[in-house]
Amino acid sequence: MKLLQVNNLSIAFGGLRAVDDFSLEIEKGELYGLIGPNGAGKTTVFNLLTGVYKPNEGIIRLDGEDITRKNTIEINHSGIARTFQNIRLFHQMSVIDNVKVGLTERFKYSGIEGVLHVGRYRKMEKEMDEEAMKLLKVFDLDSERDTLASNLPYGKQRKLEIARAMATSPKLLLLDEPAAGMNPNETAELMDTIALVRKEFGMTILLIEHDMKLVSGICEKLTVLNFGRVLKQGETKEVLSDPEVIKAYLGE
């Protein structure tokens, strides 16, 4: 069963074709890697998938539903959540509140109930707290629940961003360079976390990464982008041993 189906996606900025004729298929439960040199258009693909940019051509289907023309908010509601290359947390809010923002659309009560603290307020808030704590535990952040997000160390900020994305209960999780700026220990820990997310939630994940060790260690399939075009697509081992891919990465 295909969860994500992208056909012939293209976008141009001015004269530059940032992403050109990009196609991709991801099965449910797969961990898929998107790699390529700097400026190859990887983040642009993420921005297209999440509705930040609208493609000039092509179709994006999530679980059979056409989401090509939807905006960012609708796409999140359809089931795609993401993290960002440069971490974007709600930095003046506590760790647990960051996650609870992700839960906003799942635990509903009216604005009046919220302002007066009556009706469903108490019950829903309690359930939200429990759900948030459950998530924080998975990411080993439960002891930091009341810490301000901006006061977390770097590695934990990355984890919190993933936890927040998971709080929206997505079908597909997009991770934009989750290991960027991490030391080898933190990277190893992150790999464990990603593996855990798959196991716990059966999550389908698409990730952009530069760290080849991480990519070859956990990704089942890879797509290599170069100058906005797909250079190679397939099983991780196969792709990484391809002479053209090696050339694109290491030069002649």
């Binding site: 960012t72 959540a81 974007r88 709600f90 960051n98 923002v101 906003t104 919220g114 302002v115 939200m128």
Partner: protein, 347 residues
């Protein structure tokens, strides 16, 4: 645990307001309050209310508004029109209650309508447009002539003659002369109740699903969108509630004086900036701080009246020095160093 701390914090805030009220009441009852100071109590309270409203916009939503006195102006005029027209028909208590409903509703409506274009802008551009709307509201109200007679309401933008009123009619808004003869229904007790209610709304909002979404939009609107938060909706919600509370302050304003005019002194951008000063000095996003700062800073220049011409000069110097001390990176570092030394010595 955090929830308990938040509850305690909120209770302290209400406690401070109630304590302030009791102290003032005792001073009044024992005759220890000059009539001049007595007259300042209601204004002090409505400035605290509008400071809370503005902090919701600036600190919680994260959008700088320098036109909030415009919403206060709308609340003041709409409720004053109602009270003047009904003062012989409805008893005081329900009339004043309805005046609040009307003042708040009108301010909220304008907050909503103005929010639609304003919230599409960002940063300083947004700020200057709020200023523009504030000035437009003030100028337009100054040009309105409105009267009611047996044939119904009449309105003109030119002069009172153009209303063509029957002899039995009464002019309600007389252009730049404003509204005279609004019943003086406001008092310190009611003002404090309204302040407590405003605090209740804002503090509870901050601690709810909608409030968290609003703060998420403030901290990072791109991340908020990707987490499924409808950014526009929450911006509108915060801005409208903020305008509504400013409208409540306006109702107190117009029912505390007999002659209401839309002057720059009370409703222009300078007045809005004065409120912004309260909010920034009280701490951006710190609701309790806004109340305390508004009370102190409103009373301060009034207390300095003895110094007369020097008072505003002193006030401005205090303002500059406080800003430098509170916010300059060098001063912040120095304060941390001193605090560190102090802790070490006591350890």
């Amino acid at each position: 645990m955090a929830a308990k701390k938040r509850l305690r914090d909120n209770l302290i805030t209400y406690g401070i307001v109630i304590a302030l009220y009791l102290i003032m009441e005792i001073l009044m009852k024992t005759g220890n309050l000059s009539s001049h100071l007595k007259g300042l109590l209601v204004p002090m309270t409505y400035y605290a209310i509008i400071a809370v409203a503005l902090n919701l916009c600036v600190g919680i939503l994260g959008e700088l508004s320098i036109g909030h006195c415009g919403f206060m102006c709308i609340g003041a005029f709409s409720s004053a029109v109602f009270s003047k027209l009904t003062q012989n028909n409805i008893p005081t208590a329900p009339r004043f209650f309805l005046a609040f409903v009307i003042g708040i509703a009108f301010a909220a409506l304008f907050g909503f309508l103005i929010g639609i274009p304003v919230l599409r802008l960002k940063g300083d551009y947004l700020a200057i447009v709020t200023l523009a709307f504030g000035e437009i509201i003030k100028n337009v109200i100054n040009a309105i002539y409105f009267g009611v007679d047996s044939k119904g309401p009449h309105i003109s933008m030119n002069n009172v003659m153009e209303l063509g009123m029957e002899p039995d009619g009464q002019v309600v808004i007389n252009g730049a002369m404003g509204i005279t003869g609004t019943p003086r229904d406001a008092n310190f007790t009611i003002a404090i109740v309204v302040l407590l209610l405003s605090l209740f709304v804002v503090l509870n909002l901050m601690n709810s699903r909608d409030g968290r979404a609003i703060m998420a939009v403030r901290d990072n609107s791109i991340a908020a969108e990707s987490a499924g938060i409808n950014v526009t909706r929450y911006k509108m919600m915060a801005f409208t509630i903020s305008a509504a509370i400013a409208g409540a302050a306006g109702v107190l304003f117009s029912h505390n004086i007999t002659s209401l005019t839309a002057t720059s002194q009370y409703f222009g951008y300078n007045a809005s900036i004065m409120i912004l000063v309260y909010v920034v000095l009280g701490g951006i996003g710190n609701i309790r701080g806004s109340v305390i700062a508004a009370a102190i800073l409103y009373l301060l220049p009034e207390m300095l009246r003895g110094l007369n011409t020097y008072r505003m000069l002193i006030y401005s110097i205090v303002l500059i020095v406080m800003m430098l001390f509170n916010w300059a990176p060098a001063a912040v570092q120095w304060r941390q160093k001193v605090a560190h030394k102090f802790i070490k010595r006591n350890a």
